[in-house]
């Protein structure tokens, strides 16, 4: 029946579509030209110069020049701009008279990336402008250039990004979200492929085919999915490391091993779920709950070390968290194997999970005691 369509969609079509979606969405790596506005109440040469300087940074672009702060605030609330700068009246005169005028800037901090970038960008531009005025004054006093720099900015911070040269959002996001998407498909498919045998009462036939060995039955059932999901994951790696050019500092062999381990680990978790709750609707709900929660508890959005302790332990129960460590340490940074060894061991531990429910699952397959009560009218 139509179930063949379901298998193809969940195993191939949807995983590949999501890979293409994330690759395409973050194509630019870093947001550019985010719209901002300027409220210039001064309208002098100085204020226009400030406006021009704000406009030339790549991150933001001035799309509107507005008359009042109220108007700009309304535009910000409407969502037409992500931030704005208010240049006060008499700016030029106040600077000349050393009256320390105030420049206020506002930005939408309700969105994570936009808020952070806007704050950095606007703070940096305006600090540079303020420093520039200081420098100009000192130059007028006849001070030397080296001397001025040492006076205006006695301590300079030079930033180095350890072991990851790219400040690129696709490195942050796609590399973790794609495995999270894949684990969801693997979990659901594993539970479904076994659960449907119980639900449709075909599990006897399945066991008979496997000489009544539960190990043969399960291996035979899951192996084709292992192969397909492994191929999908390698396609994902190809997109990440070849097409999107995310640095890969490990050998192809290790990458393949890590990917295979990822697929098998999640199949083991799926198997554990259907064994634990042989009624498919319950084990599917459990998989959904666990699979969606991985986005939060793998610690890619909010670091695990900063979570309350109880969740720090809970986070260890997600293979994707250990996979993320391996990715960051071995693949991205190129650290020696010893630093990611513990994560490999954690992942291997998940493979033992099905052993705890294998008897329960076997009796569910044989006695079919977990059939849902569906009333046939």
């Amino acid at each position: 029946m139509s179930s063949r369509g379901l298998y193809i969609l969940v195993v191939l079509v949807f995983p590949i579509l999501t890979i293409l979606f994330f690759a395409s969405l973050f194509r630019e790596g870093v947001p550019t030209k985010m719209p901002i506005a300027i409220v210039d109440l001064d309208q002098t040469a100085s204020s226009r110069k400030i406006a021009r300087n704000i406009d030339i940074t790549p991150l933001s672009t001035v799309t509107e020049y507005l008359q009042s702060e109220t108007e700009a605030m309304s535009e910000l609330r409407t969502g037409n701009i992500y931030g704005f700068v208010v240049i006060p009246k008499n700016l030029q005169a106040d600077i000349l008279a050393s009256r320390q005028p105030e420049i206020s800037y506002y930005y939408q901090n309700g969105y994570l990336i936009v808020g952070g970038l806007m704050q950095n960008d606007l703070t940096l531009i305006l600090h540079t402008l303020s420093g520039g005025i200081n420098i100009q004054k000192r130059e007028a006093m006849g001070q030397q250039e080296d001397y001025i720099m040492a006076q205006v900015q006695p301590i300079q911070v030079s930033t180095h990004q350890l072991f990851n040269p790219t400040a690129n959002y696709s490195v942050y996001i796609s590399t973790i979200v794609l495995p999270i998407m894949l684990q969801l498909f693997i979990l659901l498919m594993t539970v479904y492929s076994i659960g449907i045998e119980i639900k449709e009462k075909t599990s006897h036939e399945w066991l008979r085919f496997s000489n009544k060995s539960i190990f043969t039955a399960i291996t035979g059932k899951l192996l084709p999915y292992t192969v397909i999901f492994f191929v999908v994951m390698m396609f994902q790696n190809f997109m990440l490391y070849k097409v999107m050019q995310i640095p890969m500092n490990t050998s192809l062999g290790w990458l393949m091993l890590g990917s295979l381990l990822f697929v098998v680990t999640y199949q083991a978790v799926g198997l554990f779920f259907i064994g634990l709750l042989p009624v498919m609707r319950h084990s599917l709900n459990l998989s959904a709950f666990y699979g969606i929660l991985a986005l939060t508890l793998c610690g890619f959005s909010f670091p695990i070390d900063a979570m309350p302790p109880v969740f720090q332990y809970w986070a260890c129960a997600f293979p994707v968290r250990h996979y993320m460590h391996i990715f960051q340490s071995q693949i991205l940074a190129g650290f020696e194997l010893k630093y990611s060894m513990i994560s490999y061991l954690y992942m291997l531990l998940f493979l033992l999970l099905p052993l705890t429910i294998i008897n329960r699952l076997k009796s569910a397959l044989i006695y079919q005691t977990f059939i849902e009560k569906v009333h046939n009218h």
Partner: protein
């Protein structure tokens, strides 16, 4: 003439009663199904709490760093103490070599390294610019942010003190020196999420998504279950005489709308209040935004449900889209950087506009007028999905009615065979 009038009022009355009957029957279906109850009640109750507790600390505090102090002077020790005093950073160790620091970094004992140069103290004394090196952990955006915030703050403050001290030494007053160092005062105004707390970034979006996704999955489960129960695998039963499409769609919709209107009070009203997320919107504003959101999600769910052949189908085929939807909303990646295709795809799902609208109203204090774009889009979606739901159900109703009439002339097996070949 009079006769006709009675006929029309009679029809309206009958339609109303039928709709009410379908509405009540839908309640009965929902409340007698444990799986659906879990999706509709347990998930929306538990998830918002769970997320709120996980993100409860909101920001990264006391990020452990190593200071590699090559200067080893009074000035550098003061600088180290100042770093430790920031809320963002905690100096875990400060008397080690760069090699040792890197090894600690690889072991994840520290999350950043600050190197103070050998000439630090001498540079300051001789009025030379000195350079501090900060090595940031790029694994986590928030770690990087914490390190840069802390180090830049201390460098700027210390530098400012040095500049002012030097200016005072040349004969300026304290105030003159301060104005020379800072000719323009900069005022930073962070809107919507002043503290930059992580929960306030993510949770409003999650709340809206939970509503839409549980609705669509639950409607899908019940549709799949109906097909499993009915003899010929039809969505609409063949047992009774033809039921009105409009009555079915409206009756079902009313059942979900009433349940989710109640749930919304908890999810969108109580949760933000308990955990201190933005609550600028008043009840009226929220009703104006959330009503078309619920309606469009419900009708989208009803329209989509006709494709789910089994009880499990909606979970298998629709759940995964929750994560891409979070990104499509525009709260993570700015909409100004979306490709054209994704801007269009984004408009398919009610959650996109509802998330942005909800954040605008509740966190930024936008009025109904300032949220008009989102509200309008949601009403358009409501209209489109209502029509889609009627068309999809209308087809199913006619199909079942057709089967019913065929039952009179054809044998049971014949019809089953015919349906099997169709699917």
């Amino acid at each position: 003439m009079k006769n006709k009038d009675i006929n029309i009022t009679g029809q309206i009355k009958e339609g109303f009663i039928n709709t009410l009957r379908i509405w009540m029957r839908e309640y009965q279906l929902i409340f007698s199904d444990v799986g659906v109850m879990v999706i509709i009640f347990v998930v929306p109750l538990i998830y918002p709490l769970l997320y709120s507790f996980i993100y409860y600390p909101e920001v990264v505090r006391d990020l452990p760093i190593a200071v590699v102090d090559l200067s080893y002077s009074t000035d550098s020790r003061q600088f180290t103490r100042d770093l430790d005093a920031t809320p963002d950073l905690k100096v875990a160790t400060n008397s080690i070599s760069m090699a040792e620091a890197i090894s600690m970094f690889k072991n994840r004992e520290i999350r950043g390294i600050v190197q103070i140069p050998e000439t630090f103290s001498k540079d300051i004394a001789m009025n030379r610019q000195t350079i501090i090196s900060a090595y940031a952990d790029m694994e986590f955006f928030l770690y990087y942010k914490a390190l840069m915030t802390g180090v830049n703050f201390v460098a700027l403050e210390t530098g400012n003190q040095i500049q002012i001290k030097n200016l005072v030494n040349t004969g300026l007053t304290e105030q003159q020196a301060q104005i020379t160092a800072e000719p323009v005062k900069l005022v930073d105004n962070s809107m919507a999420n002043q503290a930059g707390g992580f929960a306030s970034y993510g949770i409003p979006a999650a709340l809206i998504l939970i509503i839409q996704q549980t609705l669509i999955i639950a409607i899908g489960i019940l549709a799949g279950t109906a097909r499993e129960r009915h003899v010929f695998g039809t969505l609409v039963t063949t047992n009774r005489r033809k039921m009105g499409t409009l009555r079915l769609v409206v009756g079902k919709g009313a059942a979900y709308f009433t349940i989710y209107a109640m749930l919304s009070i908890y999810i969108l009203g109580m949760i933000p209040q308990w955990f201190g997320y933005g609550q600028s919107a008043d009840l009226m504003e929220l009703i104006v935004l959330i009503s078309p959101f619920l309606l469009s999600s419900i009708f989208m769910g009803i329209a989509l449900s006709v494709i789910f052949k089994n009880r499990e189908s909606s979970m298998m085929l629709y759940l995964f889209i929750s994560i891409p939807l979070l990104f499509l909303s525009g709260i993570i990646w700015p909409l100004s950087n979306f490709g054209y295709v994704w801007l269009v795809v984004r408009e398919i799902f009610p959650s996109s506009n509802a998330i942005i609208g909800f954040i605008k109203m509740n966190s930024l204090g936008a009025t109904i007028f300032e949220t008009r774009r989102e509200i309008m889009s949601l009403w358009i979606q409501t209209g489109v999905y209502f029509l889609a739901a009627c068309l999809a159900y209308g087809y199913q109703v006619n199909f079942s009615a057709h089967l019913r009439s065929e039952l009179l002339t054809h044998s049971f097996r014949e019809i089953r065979k015919k349906i099997a070949s169709r699917i």
